[in-house]
């Protein structure tokens, strides 16, 4: 009986410990978020720091975004044509490509690529800065690391994501056009006019942008927090980088479902 109660107790202790450590991490991430908001004014005084980060997260991600958007659009065009021509409505291919890109694929795939391309870089950079005690050195010089390092990266991510998502959607539509009109031979007029008749600027394009802003906030906060929270060892930084990708991807997909259900019911 004694042994049984002991193992039972240990079992519950394990659940309790993992729960409380997760709650603690969530709490510290939220605290970091509010600290960033508080120190934002300080970091906006040195706007060139944010612009530098936009260069590193945004401009450097352009190539991967444009190339993958073009291929995604082309694949959508091919697959859509294959299914639609069975129902004799291959002209609707423009609508299919545009709506799936603007509503879902644009924001989501951009955010997933962003988490892999820029999020990991942020985590590794900050984790290493912490491991080599650069952050503590800054504090010693009375420079807030949050205002100087963290907040510019946060705002750069939030500004970059909707821009990347709109580029993704537009390039994807062009990719779909390249496959549908010159290669397959769908009528060009029908392609664009059906698209314009069915894509609503406010309901589709703006909602896609709202999604990408939310993903931008989530991705950068996760990347920053993982870097900030990483144990100051090589192994700790590598684990934090992995966690950034896993957590951001899950967060993006879960948030996408929540946002879509709100937007469609509303």
């Amino acid at each position: 009986m004694n042994i049984n109660t002991k193992t039972l107790l240990k079992f519950f202790e394990k659940i309790g410990r993992s729960f409380s450590s997760r709650a603690l991490r969530l709490g510290s991430a939220t605290r970091l978020f509010f600290l960033i908001l508080i120190y934002s004014a300080d970091s906006f005084k040195r706007i060139h720091l944010t612009i530098r980060e936009i260069y590193f997260t945004g401009v450097m991600s352009l190539v991967i975004i444009i190339v993958s958007a073009f291929f995604v659009g082309m694949v959508l065009g091919l697959q859509g044509y294959y299914t639609l021509q069975k129902y004799g409505s291959s002209e609707a291919i423009g609508v299919l490509v545009a709506l799936s890109l603007v509503r879902e694929l644009g924001p989501v795939v951009t955010a997933l690529l962003f988490a892999g391309r820029a999020g990991t870089a942020i985590t590794a950079e900050i984790g290493l800065m912490k491991a080599t005690e650069q952050l503590s050195a800054m504090e010693m010089m009375a420079v807030s690391p949050i205002a100087r390092i963290i907040a510019p990266r946060f705002w750069a991510g939030v500004i970059t994501m909707p821009i990347l998502a709109s580029i993704f959607s537009m390039v994807g539509v062009l990719g779909g056009y390249v496959v549908a009109v010159p290669i397959i031979g769908v009528d060009e007029g029908a392609f664009w006019s059906q698209m314009q008749a069915n894509v609503d600027f406010r309901f589709d394009v703006i909602n896609g942008l709202i999604k990408s802003v939310v993903f931008g906030i989530a991705c950068t906060i996760i990347a920053l927090f993982e870097g900030f929270d990483a144990p100051p060892t090589a192994e700790g930084v590598s684990r934090a980088t992995t966690r950034t990708v896993v957590t951001s991807s899950l967060a993006i997909l879960a948030l996408d479902f929540v946002l879509t259900s709100f937007m469609i019911s509303g």
């Binding site: 060139h48 612009i51 530098r52 936009i54 260069y55 945004g58 401009v59 352009l62 545009a98 603007v102 909707p162 821009i163 990347l164 709109s166 580029i167 959607s169 537009m170 390039v171 539509v173 664009w192 698209m195 314009q196 008749a197 894509v199 609503d200 600027f201 589709d204 394009v205 942008l209």
Partner: protein, 153 residues
């Protein structure tokens, strides 16, 4: 990397983003072709609206002239009250006919307006009195079966 080059790259990046957004708005979306700003609202009562939805198109002779604004159920008369926003550029006589049609065999439903012959035009807040309900497939089939059965007797 020096600061000016960095600024230039970020500028190019933002410009590409703005161009893409404009492209999405103009070329992909309906911001130019379909923006109806000045409208007047009229209502129409239907016994059955079928699958009509808010924001469904309102067409006159096949041209989109407005959109369905809202659909509510009137608990006193037990019918549906559909309010329609029509573009100010288009005027319709007071005895205009409002029908619910289906685009294609299984397509979305829309309201088709057929102009009558009266001199006065519809104005803000008017009610279209002559309406025709949506065709409900089940009703049609049961009528057909009923008439078939009575023929055979």
């Amino acid at each position: 990397m020096d600061k000016i080059k960095l600024d230039a790259w970020v500028g190019i990046f933002v410009a590409i983003g703005v161009i893409s957004l404009l492209g999405l708005a103009m070329k992909v979306g309906n911001l130019t072709s379909n923006d109806i700003r000045e409208t007047y609202t009229v209502t129409a009562n239907f016994e059955n609206i079928g699958g009509l939805k808010p924001r469904a198109p309102v067409k006159g002779a096949g041209v989109v002239v407005g959109r369905v604004n809202s659909i509510v159920f009137d608990t006193e008369a037990y019918h549906a009250v559909v309010s329609i926003d029509i573009d100010k550029r288009y005027v319709f006589p007071k005895d205009t006919f409002a029908n619910i049609y289906t685009a294609g065999l299984l397509g979305e439903q829309y309201i088709g307006l057929e102009a009558g012959g009266e001199e006065k035009n519809l104005e803000q807040g008017d009610r279209i009195t002559q309406t025709q309900d949506a065709v409900v497939l089940e009703k049609l089939i049961s009528q057909f079966l009923y008439s078939k059965a009575s023929e055979e007797e």
